[in-house]
Symmetry: C2
């Protein structure tokens, strides 16, 4: 099944465009919790409220050699109808990107990946064209403060002046012959998101940066929605995972996820 078809089905089933970031940080988790049990409890508590899970690979690599296995077991534990987006932000020359694609799509079994566009199309093609049924979210306008360092610089593409992040969106459109590409657009820059949506009515947005990073749900939905179910999915990690550091962390995560889903749905154009 194509990634965006699977995502649509989960959005409908759970009436949710909330993606939960599975970013286990021992410094924020309940004391002495082990990561796999923590992830399983979060998944059990939130599986009927999400459209996807998004584990960021950094938090598993930080665990050393156990990390990959914890990640693989966590992905394996997620109900099969819920898509998994590996937040890896990879990008390398062709034969190396192929190795990353094999690792993330075949070994881990993720449904989609985030990639970095700086190396250009031949670094992204092994993911998009190499795996037509998988999804690929290209970093476009990221949610962090430093995003402006390069992404806001003005460039000229096809005779039109635009910021670099718009150029990335523009190129991504030309690379999307298999309809498996989306963009990462941070919640913290709603004005930029609105301009991207205006220029690209159909492209799916994966939106990090609400909650801890400060993005506003109403602003994000107004800026980024489209006519499509999967036009925008909103990720939250810390706000849900660490709603409590006590033994009630899973229950607190469920409450936080449900509150966020409801807040998002207030502003959603449901098809």
């Amino acid at each position: 099944m194509k990634f965006f078809t699977k995502l649509d089905a989960c959005i409908k089933k759970n009436n949710s465009i909330l993606c939960v970031g599975l970013d286990p940080d021992p410094a924020l988790m309940p004391p002495n919790a082990d990561i796999l049990s923590f992830n399983k409890a979060i998944i059990d508590a939130t599986a009927d409220m999400v459209c996807a899970y998004k584990p960021n690979l950094a938090f598993y690599e930080a665990e050393g050699q156990r990390g990959w296995n914890i990640l693989k077991q966590s992905i394996n534990y997620i109900p099969k109808y819920i898509p998994v987006i590996a937040d890896a932000k990879r990008g390398d020359i062709g034969n190396t990107s192929k190795a990353y694609a094999r690792a993330i799509f075949e070994d881990l079994g993720a449904d989609a990946i985030t990639v970095n566009p700086y190396l250009g199309f031949d670094s992204i093609e092994p993911f998009t064209n190499g795996y037509p049924d998988k999804g690929v979210f290209i970093l476009c306008r990221t949610s962090n403060k430093g995003a402006a360092d390069f992404q806001s610089l003005s460039v000229t593409i096809s005779g039109i002046e635009m910021p670099l992040y718009q150029a990335v969106a523009h190129k991504a459109k030309t690379w999307n012959s298999l309809n498996n590409i989306g963009l990462v657009v941070g919640a913290t820059y709603p004005a930029e998101m609105a301009r991207l949506r205006h220029a690209h009515p159909g492209v799916p947005f994966l939106v990090p940066g609400v909650g801890t990073q400060g993005g506003d749900i109403k602003q994000v939905l107004e800026a980024g929605q489209s006519a499509s179910d999967h036009g925008i999915i909103i990720n939250s990690s810390r706000q849900i995972l660490y709603a409590s550091r006590g033994m009630d962390f899973a229950k607190a995560a469920a409450h936080a996820a449900e509150a966020l889903r409801q807040e998002i749905n207030l502003y959603r154009l449901v098809s």
Copy 2:
């Protein structure tokens, strides 16, 4: 010890600016060779001819859960005076980059890392300022064909028009208060390398793209050398690792590395 001090010492000891890329690809290795034994044989055969080793993490991730451990054991096997550059091309928002830095510098024990600049300074700071004794090579002008998609776009920084890769070099200079930053500049673009060297006489270059990718040694040295020992280091992976697919692969790798070191040294300004 600071990374570039360690690199200088190894350059002097081995009279070499050749870095060997430890990128084990089972499709190219001798049939039935296991990766750790392969790496150990390559290290034994080349340790007195290199200034550094550069494992690309993709090839270890492609091995799944065994991969991290193979990489860690390979790094641990490298003689302690030889610096190890983890070719990871990472870059994420601050708290996530911190997790990557911990993984690569603390768990793996690498001496340096490659990072992607697209997310800006706050994605790089956890590596540079978080670990002052480690080295950080920022992707600037990569060796692949797609590099031009974004890296060649013209931008304006401080009132001066320049290609994006020059803007990355320009910003990197302002971020280098701890003298632990270098740039990745592909051998396949000697004209761009020469312009970078002209604009930034002191910055160290890590140069992939000779051998299989087609970069020319003489052109690279003429374009990229500086007055400093560590002004330029040249990476080769496939040309050395896969000089033979037979049982004599290690001997063939030693011959290939020695030939490449000698060719490089023909054009080197030795201090």
